[in-house]
């Protein structure tokens, strides 16, 4: 058995200089390097040194705004970012074990393009690719594309976006399977490079798009790279249950963790393996509780208010965080996606503090044991849906 069931999974969510809006003001922050390849390589390499299962990389189709749905003209926050899929790909050859899960927006983009992009990320990383799909209800993002208007009724629009996201994931998954693994035959005697009976039209027809297929990119090393989604409510939980391998959720205690895991499981089709539910936490870590609290207060003073998040905010020591993670893990969370309040400080607290602590408790692996991200998450390489059809 590669992984004992009591072991939990750990991931880190990378975004700019960290999740606290004032993080770029920290002495160790590197706000002037955010657009350089070195910055991202350094962070992901550090996460890999800490044996984390994967990193996620945030993205969006607008500038970062304090309220994602309302543009602002602030000049005191980090603004500007690089395409997350390309960051992941740039980092892939410089790392060897850690999973890479960039964010992609499903609302205005082409599933055909994203499918081959993630398949290619899987090739360049030798099987460490995933994608976190996200919808965008932003009027500003819509205006950047000019093909769609955002209606006034937010609830209906959200339902429409999540339905579209489920279709989108269905398309990218079918495209990944549209080549069977042994489609390339190089049969010199007949002159055929491929056996075309092993390539498949996907013939998807939905309300927002239709896609014929097959992909231009052969089936990626993992067969199906990991699909992840973040959810806060019913529509997103249904998307996680129907379409994702990994769900990021934001409980604020052990009981709520259990409740959310149950809701997602209840939506899952009967024969499907349950989605891996990861709880998100924003973390302010230090060697002492007082130190962590002082850091948070200092950052909040710059912010001018208390920092709030959709996710639970943990302020304390790595040991204290380990207690929480073990409790929530026992309550049903497969793992945790930690959002460092500041970078690199809180990432180093995770790799130098939290990871050794969890290892001492037998709750986290001592080495990478799998070659692929699916393997790291104890997921088998799936059969191709089109084989033997």
């Amino acid at each position: 058995m590669a992984t004992a069931p009591e072991r939990l999974h750990l991931a880190v969510a990378l975004d700019g200089t960290g999740w606290h809006p004032a993080s770029w003001r920290e002495p160790d922050a590197r706000p002037a390097d955010l657009l350089t390849p070195r910055y991202w390589t350094d962070l992901v390499s550090e996460a890999e040194r800490g044996l984390l299962d994967f990193v996620t990389i945030e993205d969006g189709l607008t500038l970062q705004f304090d309220n994602p749905l309302r543009a602002d003209e602030r000049t005191d926050r980090v603004r500007g970012r690089l395409d997350a899929v390309l960051i992941a790909s740039r980092v892939a050859p410089r790392t060897s074990h850690i999973g890479l899960i960039p964010t992609a927006i499903t609302t205005h983009t082409e599933p055909f393009h994203l499918s081959k992009a993630i398949a290619t990320l899987d090739y360049v990383s030798s099987g460490r690719a995933g994608v976190r799909v996200q919808v965008s209800g932003s009027r500003d993002a819509a205006a950047h594309f000019g093909r769609r208007t955002v209606p006034d009724e937010p609830k209906e629009f959200a339902d429409e976006l999540f339905t579209e996201a489920a279709d989108y994931v269905e398309v990218i998954r079918r495209l990944w399977d549209s080549w069977e693994d042994d489609a390339e035959i190089r049969d010199v005697s007949t002159g055929r490079f491929i056996d075309r009976t092993k390539l498949h039209y996907i013939d998807f027809e939905g309300s927002k798009f239709s896609v014929k297929g097959p992909s231009i990119t052969p089936r990626p090393p993992q067969g199906q790279p990991i699909v992840a989604a973040l959810g806060h409510g019913e529509a997103a939980y249904r998307l996680i249950a129907s379409s994702a391998d990994v769900g990021f959720v934001t409980p604020h205690g052990a009981a709520e963790t259990t409740a959310i895991v149950d809701v997602i499981s209840a939506h899952r089709a009967g024969d499907a393996a349950p989605a891996k539910v990861f709880a998100d936490l924003v973390v302010f870590l230090d060697d002492t509780v007082a130190g962590a609290t002082a850091r948070r207060e200092r950052l909040d003073a710059i912010l001018g208010r208390e920092y709030i998040s959709d996710a639970e905010v943990f302020v304390g020591t790595p040991q204290g965080l380990a207690d929480v993670l073990q409790e929530w893990h026992a309550a049903g969370a497969a793992g945790f996606r930690l959002r460092p309040a500041t970078l690199p400080h809180d990432l180093l607290q995770i790799t130098d503090g939290l990871v050794p602590e969890l290892q001492r408790r037998g709750a986290f692996h001592d080495a990478y044991h799998a070659a692929t991200l699916r393997g790291a998450l104890d997921l088998p390489r799936p059969a191709n849906r089109y084989s033997n059809v």
Partner: protein, 455 residues
């Protein structure tokens, strides 16, 4: 006045999904594993090449209603593979073909600006258009774009992306921790573009990249395409690799620049070129002949025939004469997803030319196809090939070449090992990179962000 000696520009085209690429060669490796791309890119960089070049196709080709299976099939996503190659190279330019029909300006602009940041100034974009409903079946937009609208849409697409690239001047990020000022301009990235094909506005979210904009390539050969290139491109990926053809094309396109307020050195002409090397010219010629036969198998010859004849000729004997039946004139329905079939403007006339040639030279169908689909651009010993390339460049048939090896991934090795040193000895090709960006390698100036500067 004596004409100054030109420096040659060299680039490497990753072997493509057509019959030029000989996958049956025992030395042929994977066309999709990252290791093949790494080998190819590292070889090009070892040879101090200006850039490597990737083509793109967004639907697998079909012939006779079935997926075409005789050539290499399958390739990676252009942006994603180039971003990964930026990690294993330091100086090599990274040129990707990206379609302007089945993409949106905001997304393409952020991908190219990101690639330029992540490669520290080495990104280039070969802008192509496609307008067929066949490819459109893979995309939201679907559809068909009338031929007369395709260049207009491509022009607007390029204008829109330039508006986006120029929405940041490059000096907005202050990131001063003490004062708390991250941006010097509250409206950084503000843009608006309105035209017949796009109506977009807002804030671009990728700050200005090292090259300002990616280097722009254009590949079309029509009058429209040439005019588009003269107005907006930094380089042309051309088909005219011979002396006479090359000189005519070179003079024509460079002659169009003045009308757009541009100098001749602001647009580079880089034809695609295949090559076969041997210890002697005679040996190279023998190898070249064998390569041509491998590229045009009997089955491939029939497929080429069908593309012109526009009908099923699967029962035809490739080792016999050309068919006596005439091509079907009109929309080409036999082959889909292949740009070359659109060049057969008058299939009956072409068929008659082929018949005359086959009769005069006593050629079978396959031998005829070998002849009409063109021999390799450069065949000979390393010194012959070096001399030929230098002659063509100094005679203004081109500014250099985009070399297309026929074997993946090692097909470039012999050129880099044997021909590049000879060009370096002659002082017509760089001994080492002098700059860091692709604009540096190509001698192109940094663009000035006109729009943002006016804000």
């Amino acid at each position: 006045m004596r004409k100054p000696v030109k420096q040659i520009h060299l680039a490497a085209h990753f072997p493509g999904v057509n019959n030029t690429t000989v996958w049956s060669d025992p030395a042929s490796g994977s066309h999709i594993d990252f290791s093949s791309f790494v080998h190819f890119a590292e070889t090009a960089e070892r040879g101090k090449f200006d850039f490597m070049f990737l083509a793109e196709g967004l639907r697998l080709r079909e012939q006779g209603g079935e997926i075409y299976d005789l050539d290499v099939v399958g390739r990676p996503d252009t942006f994603t593979i180039l971003a990964a190659l930026a990690a294993v190279t330091d100086r090599l330019g990274l040129t990707g073909t990206i379609n302007s029909t089945f993409n949106e300006p905001y997304e393409v602009a952020r991908q190219f600006a990101s690639l330029d940041h992540l490669s520290e100034g080495r990104a280039a974009w070969n802008v192509v258009t496609s307008w067929d409903a066949f490819t459109g079946e893979n995309f939201r937009r679907g559809g068909f774009l009338a031929e007369n609208e395709r260049y207009e849409r491509a022009e607007h697409f390029l204008e829109a992306t330039h508006t986006l690239f120029d929405s940041w001047r490059g000096d907005e990020i202050v990131a001063d921790k003490d004062s708390g000022v991250f941006l010097s301009d509250p409206a950084a990235g503000a843009f608006s573009y309105r035209g017949a094909h796009f109506d977009i506005s807002g804030r671009f979210n990728v700050p200005r990249s090292p090259q300002g904009r990616p280097v722009i390539f254009q590949a079309g050969d029509s009058d429209h395409g040439r005019e588009f290139a003269a107005a907006a491109a930094d380089a042309i990926f051309s088909r005219h690799g011979t002396l006479a053809d090359g000189q005519a094309f070179y003079a024509d396109v460079k002659g169009r620049l003045a009308a757009h307020g541009r100098r001749p050195d602001q647009l580079l002409i880089l034809p695609a070129a295949t090559f076969v090397l041997g210890d002697t010219d005679a040996e190279a010629a023998d190898i070249a002949h064998d390569v041509r036969l491998a590229q045009v198998s009997p089955a491939t010859a029939i497929k080429f025939l069908e593309q012109l004849w526009n009908r099923d000729l699967s029962d035809h004997d490739a080792d016999g004469p050309l068919p006596s039946v005439d091509p079907i004139v009109g929309e080409n329905t036999i082959s889909r997803g292949r740009a070359s079939v659109r060049m057969h403007r008058d299939p009956i006339a072409t068929a008659n030319e082929w018949r005359a040639k086959a009769e005069a030279e006593n050629l079978t169908t396959r031998e005829l196809i070998v002849e009409v689909t063109g021999r390799q651009t450069f065949v000979g010993s390393p010194s012959t090939v070096a001399e030929t390339i230098n002659h063509l460049v100094q005679a203004d048939a081109s500014d250099g070449f985009i070399l297309v090896p026929h074997v993946t991934p090692g097909g470039l090795d012999s050129f880099v090992d044997q021909v590049v040193p000879l060009l370096q000895e002659r002082g017509v090709f760089r001994a080492d990179y002098e700059g860091t960006t692709l604009r540096d390698h190509l001698g192109l100036a940094q663009p000035v962000p006109a729009v943002a500067a006016a804000r």
